[in-house]
Symmetry: C2
Subunit: 247 residues, 2 copies
């Protein structure tokens, strides 16, 4: 038995998220179906990150076990012939049989895109949150500094989460005007994230940028350990899981 | 009667092009319907550029005549409430009653995007042509120089075109690696374009980049005035009409 690691990209718009569901197609479900059809035996992948409905991926990861003798690097192109064209295996490689994508220490990079035009740009509709009006980028950057480092992120985790330990470490948060005109990108890098964490961070930084709360209020929000204290969860469509790197 | 000029953006993926058709939705058809519903009287727009099925717009133009007293700049937001969200009026202004979007001298800017990744990126699927393998950008730029200026572009016009005078003037062609990773942009600016002209230029420059023909061959292709001499028409989805400016 061999374990194959896939790097997976997808436009999440038309999927009910990563995780397998009874109703509605999911990235995981499409991968399971494609690999099973390719290899002729029922196969289930284990994903690194269960992205939400509407969230996009450029560098998500999944592993599966197979008896197939297809060379590891040929799996990607072969699986792609069984996938819809908005899901693509970008690369495939063999790993040890015990390697588990959620049990290795990795750095995840997310990008949250904001369409800054007066009218929502139809070409950014699937991939950005439209926020019109002034945004104070320096205030957003100052607020982001309170979040960098190791903290209890209970205030930045969906209340529905079952996770007990909500301490996570953020390496960096960059707020950048993109080369593409009228686009703002919030790039968050960290060792692990809670449910909805990046989207709640994006929603909170935008609220700071709009001057509705002060950058230093973010410190109190963190300390409160109470989801109701942070701001709105930003829409899923603006979020892309860009990469997962081993450390 | 007042004449209102609209700047129109759209994701062309799900439309049968700009021009009104009996079957299938078009940008023109959606605009006619939306404005008629808003004003309560049957209205038909006149477009500046009849982009093909699958081609995108950021700055296309259309005018319509109306008896409505809605202030000119308020038409855009009002029409948008009647449009699907992949078509957006970006701005609206009043022009003189005789102003015609195809009878004014303008500079049009098109961008043709190419996805240069080994595997097609699902997030660029709707907006770029996937071309893997080496491309010699310097050769593409050298070839582009033969096309800049005033020429008879018969070789770069779809054979089906009914236009008699095929002389057009291209102001500039830039071949740029985009800030976005793995993307190449061919930006073409000119005073007017023939049917499929930018897509045939893109297809020809890519063929040069692949080394299948030499940059100087483009000179002979132009002189031949024969569509069969130029290369493949690049796919519609990579093309965006970025702007139309008065000169």
């Amino acid at each position: 038995m061999r374990r194959i690691l896939l790097t997976v990209a997808y436009d999440g718009t038309d999927y009910h998220g990563w995780q397998l569901q009874d109703n509605g197609s999911t990235i995981e479900g499409e991968l399971n179906r494609a690999i099973s059809e390719l290899t002729g035996s029922v196969t289930e992948v284990i994903g690194a990150s269960r992205t939400d409905s509407g969230v996009h991926g450029l560098g998500n990861r999944a592993v599966f076990d197979t008896e197939s003798s297809i060379p590891a690097e040929r799996f990607g192109p072969a699986i792609n012939t069984f996938l819809p064209d908005d899901i693509r295996v970008m690369s495939s490689t063999e790993v040890s049989a015990s390697w588990h994508p959620r049990k290795v220490r990795t750095v995840k990079t997310y990008e949250y895109r904001i369409d800054r035009g007066r009218i929502e740009n139809p070409l950014m509709l699937r991939y950005a949150w439209h926020v019109w009006g002034e945004l104070d980028l320096e205030a957003m950057r100052a607020a982001a500094e309170y979040l960098v480092g190791e903290h209890d992120f209970t205030s930045f985790c969906a209340a529905a989460s079952q996770v007990e330990d909500k301490t996570r470490e953020i390496i960096s948060i960059d707020v950048e005007e993109s080369a593409a005109a009228g686009e703002l990108v919030i790039r968050v890098r960290g060792y692990g994230f809670l449910y909805n964490m990046v989207r709640i961070i994006a929603g909170t930084l935008v609220t700071v940028g709009q001057g509705k709360i002060a950058p230093e209020d973010v410190s109190g929000i963190l300390e409160a350990r109470d989801r109701t204290r942070a701001c709105e969860t930003a829409p899923a469509k603006g979020l892309t899981l860009v990469s997962i790197e081993d450390v």
